[in-house]
């Protein structure tokens, strides 16, 4: 017990108030308002910010998709130009992956992990805030190019147009001389930085901040998948980070990594990209598998079937996922042996994935399935993901893939796993946890309406694409001829996409309505299993009145069936905590935000390093170097002040009714 209490102050430092020795800015304390959100270190607020931005970008990416579909509705359409179309699919892919699904997962990591492990925050709260703002900076850089479509004077050459995997040598200065590619390179780089930092934080949080009694094999499956995902992120992102550095050097400093004239081999980019890129697709799908593994048992009224093997297969998927990257390169002339090796390794992934599917079905088996909206999306996930998985297996047969690669068959495959899989699970998760974090229910009726619209619209959009692909339609085609036999399939897919759009729109419109008008939810509207349902909705800043003690895998189900035992245990824990000086909470800070601002200034100017700085058409500096260095300076300074500032902290005291008062004894170091 003593450990549990001590954990509220993880530095283990003295509690005696000391005078502040260093400080440039007063530490922000506002909990609401702009300052409150900008400087927050509260994992729940950070999670909501991630979620809000991600949904925004999901809609942006969706609108880009609708423009793509509109262009393809009839042959030889001229709704958008070839150039704009190329920007659209590049930004659609990049946006959906890096700015929608990944941050939505990050949102749930933030919202749920600390609560599910029974902690009050992540291990490094300020670092967490830094990850968020760096992500925002990356998102800005990626999208800044759109400006030049509206303000030609900002001569960025439009949005990035190199495809989401930016194959060299198309990214070299010779073929895409404009700045859009530089922004793409730096934008992705910063998003990667953000993800690595965030993942390190989650790894430490999950491994080290578990409540007493919460052994690894009692962790909720979602948390386990988050852990595996975090490992994938920290291990996969470095590959693309280096590859991006190499492109950047090629573009700006004359290196030859991918410059053929200097002996470079563009295929190296593909290897490095997919060394990251394939684990990336599991980064996108493992957290969704986690949500589904939480939702299915809850609505089957039955613990997850085969918990250990579900966990283990998640780890196995992550691990094997590092050894299959070249299945994206079957057509690049790898030679027979390498092709065969990667084909077989790829097939192997079906086994652990299948294990998960089987155990989900095992969970349903013999349960009492309650088809609430989250459950509908979760069941939809199993069906749709399975279909996407099967087309993945079809791709892994390398000779057959020679026909499918870069055709609409691939588009069908990955939208089934990305929408039917990742997005369905995310929509399930949003609906499932919305009551927890906003305290209001989403109406079932409208939820189901949106589900059916999305389900039907999705299949109408992407099922025909299998046939388009087999009928020879290459992807990334701005337009196509009327005599290719693709007219009807495309027309149908486009109408499906509109239907899907209506569905998605309904889904989010209902959420907005519920936010204001939804019925109050109570703590545990779904009669669920994990710790987050044991605390109020929305959760108080400190999450737990007392750090819980975990007795079983489905911790909250256990507590609900052992109420007397738990009640006395809780009372004792709370008393001990108050005796210790109250609940220790970390202080807010400006510096993560400042550091990110430094990165923004630095990266924005670094992207245009060799260009003169113009103000109203007049040249004020011959290059952006000084501004880039200024950004770097701000970054370093902010980091230094950040480290001097220390984690700080204050205490929350709860009275008998659970009302909180704060005491700010001073600063800790």
């Amino acid at each position: 017990m003593a450990q549990a209490i001590a954990k509220s102050d993880y530095t283990g430092a003295a509690h005696a108030p000391t005078k502040p020795t260093f400080g440039l800015f007063a530490r922000p304390t506002a909990k609401t308002g702009l300052v409150g959100w900008l400087t927050t270190v509260d994992h729940k607020k950070i999670g909501m910010l991630y979620g809000g931005f991600a949904i925004l970008f999901f809609l942006v990416g969706g609108i880009e998709a609708l423009m793509i579909r509109t262009q393809l509705i009839v042959p030889n359409n001229r709704f958008v130009s070839a150039q704009l179309y190329n920007e659209l699919f590049t930004m659609h892919g990049t946006t959906m992956i890096f700015l929608a699904v990944m941050p939505l997962n990050a949102a749930f990591f933030n919202l749920l992990i600390p609560i599910q492990v029974g902690a009050r925050d992540v291990a490094f709260p300020r670092l967490n805030s830094f990850s968020l703002w760096v992500w925002v900076v990356g998102a800005i850089l990626l999208n800044v190019g759109w400006i030049s479509h509206f303000v030609p004077a900002w001569d960025f050459g439009g949005a990035p147009d190199v495809g989401w995997f930016g194959y060299s040598p198309l990214t070299s200065k010779q073929f895409t001389p404009d700045l859009s590619t530089d922004f793409w390179v730096l934008g992705i780089q910063l998003l990667g930085l953000s993800s690595i930092v965030a993942s390190l934080n989650f790894i430490v949080t999950i491994i080290n901040m578990r409540a007493p009694g919460l052994t690894m094999m009692r962790l909720p499956v979602f948390t386990w998948m988050a852990l595996v995902t975090s490992f994938l992120l920290v291990l996969a992102l470095p590959a693309i980070a280096i590859a991006l550095v190499e492109v950047m050097f090629d573009r700006n400093f004359g290196t030859n990594f991918f410059e053929v004239s200097g002996g470079g081999q563009p295929i190296l980019w593909q290897h490095l990209f997919w060394v990251f890129g394939h684990p990336e697709v599991y980064i996108l799908i493992l957290p969704p598998m986690g949500y589904v593994s939480e939702i299915l048992p809850t609505f089957s009224r039955k613990p997850l079937f085969g918990y250990p093997i579900v966990v283990f297969s998640g780890v196995a998927i992550g691990f094997i996922g590092f050894g299959v990257w070249s299945h994206h390169m079957f057509t690049t002339g790898l030679g027979t042996i390498a092709t065969a090796a990667f084909a077989l390794a790829t097939m192997a992934i079906a086994v652990p994935t299948g294990v998960k599917v089987f155990n989900w079905i095992g969970t349903l088996w013999g349960g009492r399935i309650v088809t609430r909206v989250p459950m509908m999306f979760a069941l939809g996930f199993i069906w749709m993901f399975m279909m996407g998985g099967f087309t993945g297996i079809m791709h892994s047969a390398a000779p057959a893939d020679a026909q499918q690669q870069d055709s609409y068959f691939v588009i069908a495959h990955f939208h089934y796993v990305l929408i039917g899989g990742a997005t369905f699970a995310l929509l399930a998760a949003i609906h499932f946890w919305f009551p927890k974090f906003f305290g209001r229910m989403v109406p079932e009726f409208w939820g189901k309406v949106s589900f059916w619209l999305i389900f039907v619209g999705f299949n109408a959009t992407f099922f025909p694409m299998h046939f388009l692909g087999l009928n020879g339609m290459p992807r990334r085609t701005w337009t196509y001829d009327a005599n290719m036999g693709w007219n009807e399939g495309n027309l149908f897919a486009t109408i499906g996409a509109y239907l899907l759009g209506v569905g998605i729109f309904t889904y989010f419109a209902v959420l907005v309505w519920s936010f204001f008008k939804g019925k109050p939810a109570g703590n545990d509207p779904w009669d669920a299993r994990t710790l987050e349902w044991s605390i109020p909705s929305p959760p108080p800043e400190h999450n737990f009145a007392s750090i819980p003690k975990v007795h079983a895998r489905d911790a909250w189900w256990y507590e609900k069936t052992h109420q007397d035992e738990i009640a006395s245990e809780k009372a004792e824990l709370m008393k001990a905590e108050e005796a210790h000086g109250g609940i220790h909470m970390p202080d807010q800070s400006w510096y993560p935000l400042f550091a990110a601002a430094g990165l923004l200034i630095g990266a924005y100017n670094f992207a245009q390093l060799k260009h003169p700085v113009l103000i109203l058409g007049n040249q004020v500096l011959s290059s952006h170097l000084p501004l880039a260095l200024a950004g770097l300076g701000i970054l370093v300074l902010a980091c230094y002040l950040w480290s001097l500032e220390g984690p700080g902290g204050y205490h929350i005291h709860l009275d008998a009714k659970g009302n909180a008062t704060e005491s700010r004894g001073g600063y800790h170091h």
């Binding site: 578990r210 052994t215 490992f231 291990l235 295929i267 060394v275 030679g335």
Partner: protein, 117 residues
């Protein structure tokens, strides 16, 4: 790694000084480096030198992480954590070198000059 927080090991201990031990490790490391440099000049078969170099540097590597970086005295989880990265990085390097070493991967840069117009 799954040890819950409830078990409370014995109270802290005073850190014994490892001063002399560290000096010894450092001396061994320097000597090994010396051997490495000399090795490449000796008239030994190539495979032997390569094997020796790889072994020696791997040994140095391990010495630094296990002694200087305390892994030997830390919870085994730290070792596992680091080796996940190390093994994946090593495996990826191995695979890349094989991929690029394959016959199919010989670049044609020597004739590229002819193709450029």
């Amino acid at each position: 790694m799954s040890a819950p927080a409830t078990s409370s090991p014995a109270a802290g201990h005073v850190e014994p000084s490892k001063f002399h031990f560290y000096i010894q490790v450092a001396m061994i490391l320097s000597v090994v480096t010396g051997i490495e440099v000399v090795l490449v000049y000796l008239p030994l078969p190539k495979w032997f030198v390569v094997t020796a170099l790889v072994t020696l540097s791997a040994g140095k590597f391990m010495a630094v992480i296990f002694y200087f970086m305390h892994l030997r005295w830390d919870k085994v989880f730290c070792t596992i954590l680091f080796f996940i990265g190390l093994i994946l990085a090593g495996g990826t390097m191995w695979a890349l070198l094989h991929l690029f070493g394959a016959e199919a991967s010989k670049p044609i840069s020597s004739i590229v000059g002819l193709l450029v117009f």
